[in-house]
């Protein structure tokens, strides 16, 4: 098979909706990024949203577009579209939407302070997603470490550095089209890979669930999980794990923090009178 044919079979059938979604996403990102003037941002938001909505349909609702000889029809994967409950679904979708939307906002807003605040919202979303997964500790830690410590410090530095908040470089992007297309391509590739790894496309009329799925749906499996990772004593579980199997890693992490601390102090101390004022600030 020639390379072109390979490319065609790989990329065009049933994955093309993913490619379309990624492309829309990329186009939206490009429009949203600061490009001097602010025109087209609404359009960008719309395009981006369309891409993400398509992705939601594909990923969350299990939409499959199967192309035959003459026409394409839309099918739904029952194994994936079955949800345990509308409420749970709603919670998840809200969290995901908040996370992704605020992530997009946080890299596209022109004022750095807004970016940081949107990033905080994104972190909230991620923390929510962690909680939704049952990773309680991580949910809390993300908020405490990131939002509480890192982000506040960054905001502090931002305030110190650019009090007036609108520098020329915040209104320009470097190679916006290329980087958004590249990111779109990466997202598309990753999604397609995930999709082909996790779902099998429907054959004939009756879409089949992957055989190996059975192992993950048995009661025994769930029971074991509720004893292990979804335990009530989740924190105790993490502690046991961290301080037995990963003890050395924890020690190394401590060393790393020490180095970072000393390094940061040493760097910050080195501001001397040599600083020259080649200001390009507008």
């Amino acid at each position: 098979m020639s390379a072109a044919a390979l490319l065609a079979t790989t990329l065009i059938t049933p994955q093309w909706p993913y490619a379309l979604a990624a492309l829309l996403f990329a186009a939206g990102m490009w429009l949203l990024l600061p490009r001097g003037a602010a025109r087209g941002r609404r359009l960008g938001a719309g395009v981006c949203l369309a891409g993400l909505a398509l992705l939601t349909l594909l990923v969350h609702c299990g939409m499959v577009v199967a192309c035959g000889e003459e026409s394409c029809d839309v099918k739904w994967l029952p194994a994936l579209s079955t949800s345990l409950g509308l409420g749970e679904d709603f919670v998840f979708l809200t969290l995901a939407a908040v996370t992704v939307a605020s992530a997009i906002a946080s890299v596209t807003f022109r004022k750095p302070v807004y970016c940081a605040i949107w990033f905080a919202l994104c972190l909230m979303g991620v923390a929510g997603l962690f909680l939704y997964q049952g990773a309680q500790f991580l949910g809390v830690a993300t908020i405490v470490v990131y939002a509480g410590a890192i982000l506040v410090t960054i905001l502090f530095v931002l305030m110190l550095a650019t009090p007036e908040g609108h520098a020329y470089y915040d209104r320009l992007s470097w190679e916006a089209p290329l980087s958004s297309v590249l990111a779109g391509v990466l997202v598309g590739l990753l999604t397609i890979t995930t999709a082909s790894a996790l779902t099998t496309p429907p054959t004939g009329d009756k879409p089949a669930a992957p055989a190996w799925l059975a192992a993950k749906t048995t009661d025994a499996y769930h029971a074991e999980r509720s004893k292990n990772i979804l335990n009530d004593n989740h924190l105790a579980g993490i502690g046991r794990e961290l301080f037995s199997k990963h003890l050395i890693a924890v020690e190394v992490a401590g060393t790393l923090l020490l180095v970072a601390l000393v390094g940061a102090v040493a760097i910050a101390q080195s501001i001397g009178p040599t600083a020259s004022a080649t200001k390009r600030d507008s």
Binding site: A3, L6, L7, T10, L11, W174, E175, L178, S179, L182, A183, V185, L186, L189, L190, I192, T193
Partner: protein
Amino acid sequence: MFETKSLMVLIPALPLAAAIIVGLLGRRWLKEYSHVPVVLALAGSCVFSLLLLKDISNREPDAKQVGVEVTHTLWTWAAIPAAGVTTPQIKATPNFQIDITLRADPLTCMMLPMVTFIATLVAIYAMGYMHGDPGYWRFYAYVGLFVFSMTMLVSVSNFALLYVFWEAVGVCSYLLIGFWFEKPEAAAAGKKAFLVNRVGDFGFAFGLFLIWVSFGTLNFHDAGDVQGVLGQTLLANPARYAEIITGSVALAIPLLLMVGACGKSAQFPLHVWLPDAMEGPTPVSALIHAATMVTAGVYMVTRCSPLFMLDPRAQLVVACIGGFTALLAGLIALTQTDLKRVLAYSTVSQLGYMFLALGTGSLAGIVAGMFHLFTHAFFKALLFLGAGSVMHGMHHIIDMRRFSGLRRVMPWTCLTFLIGSLALAGIVPLAGFWSKDQVLAAVHDRAHDGGPFVYLYYSAVLTAFLTAFYTARAFFMTFMGPLVVPHEVGDHAHESPPAMVFPLVVLAICSIFVGITFDHSLGDFIVRTPSLACTLVAGEHGLEHHFHWDIAAISTVVAVLGIAIAAYFYLGDRRQINALTRIMQGVRLYGLSNRKFFFDEIYHVLFVLPLKGLAALSYLIDRWLVDGLVNLCGWIPRAVGAVLRNIQTGVVQFYALAMVLGLALLIGTLLVWKVG
């Protein structure tokens, strides 16, 4: 008195020790006495070489051995072991192991005394020549290092080590050519020599790879159950060679080795570095670029002659390269006015002769080539040292048009140079006559069968004529005629000091006698080398001695003719031309009546101009085609670099973009290209 094995170690060890001593102590302490350790060490080496020669020549090959060889393993140098696990399913790759092994066989024992003897004389000579040079100690350190490398080169018993010392002599040569590195030409010449040699080494290295892949070892000798490439087992059963290397590999190995030899021995098309290498001090030219290092290629081809015997096409290539180079260099030498450069082209030409002899593929040819190598070392070293003596007297002026008639101020130099010239021209009974005769005879034997060797024979005869001509021309222009010295010299033209005259005299005596003394005995001695003694090379009958009267006559006639024509132009005519020039300035019409003037013009048009044109053409080919190719090879990577460096813009985000682009390409490829 000494055991063979300790002799084998001592010969290279002494120069090395001397070099280290001078290198460490020379700058601060030894200073103008830096020559002492080196001269002593070289003389010692020379004595030990002779002892070793005596030892080996007394040995007779026993029934089990092919030829005579003594090997001595010092230590294991490097081992890339095949991992210890070998299960039946796995084809065991052989251990890559290099032992530091020295060998002594007739070929080595012929080279060693020659190298050390000439090196000793050159070191003595340099005491006078280099006197007062600020880099005196450095010079002797390099010379010691060079002699160590050269003696190791001829005594090692492993291709990898051969390659190592091949490079080592190259490095020494590089350092010595660029000895006066403040002089831009010297630095450039050193670089050129190094770069051109790299081309040859590239071929050589590939040859070694092929040998390793085919034979599974790089040893010459047998060691344990490893059968060496030139070991007794294979030599005793040459049919095995044809089983091990077949088809194109049998051709590729000798050709790649020949590429290496071309680089080191300055053969076409890699000969361009040698004439430029004359920028180095003259003793270096005599030692490295005439007598020893440049013959390493000839030595290597001789050593590997069983490999060359496997494919007649390889022999033909060797012969053609040799014959063509000999002729080409001879033509170029005709018009050079720099004395050292004439000698340099002459060296290239004579090396071509040696390769021509080796290319005949007969035992007689190989022996003739080695014999020519041997005699050439003496008279060419003599000529170079003589030229150095002239330079010394002329305050480093070497343009032959700026001096003449030096026989009056430098009688010893003149006499010894004359002997050297006659030896080079091949006049009976001097050294060159006997070896050149053997070479011509060997080529003539092959020419019986017709084919390209007929042309090679004629070109060899023509080269002999050219050799005689340009040698005589150089001699006449320098030493005959009225005494003229450059004005820089003034009244200070003088004979060189005894330290320089003594080696000249010794070498002159050698140049007279080595030919007639060793005419047969050298051949009889070296045919007992294992590589040459095997039936693959020696055939059924071995070496037979014939004296070819017809060829001797032809070569003598040709040589005398060359000298005579040179004498006609450069003894008589130059005076005429000089007088004529003066008269023509006064009386315009008088010149027309002078018949000699017409003859001169006719000769000039008929004879000199075409030759000059041919020489110029050769020079142009040399200059533009060959140099151009070499330059092109160097230019391509630079051009590619010039394009590629545009990606290094300095902007971080561009770098990040490029990294992510690379990543995306990789991921995209792995999705499409379903391997693994």
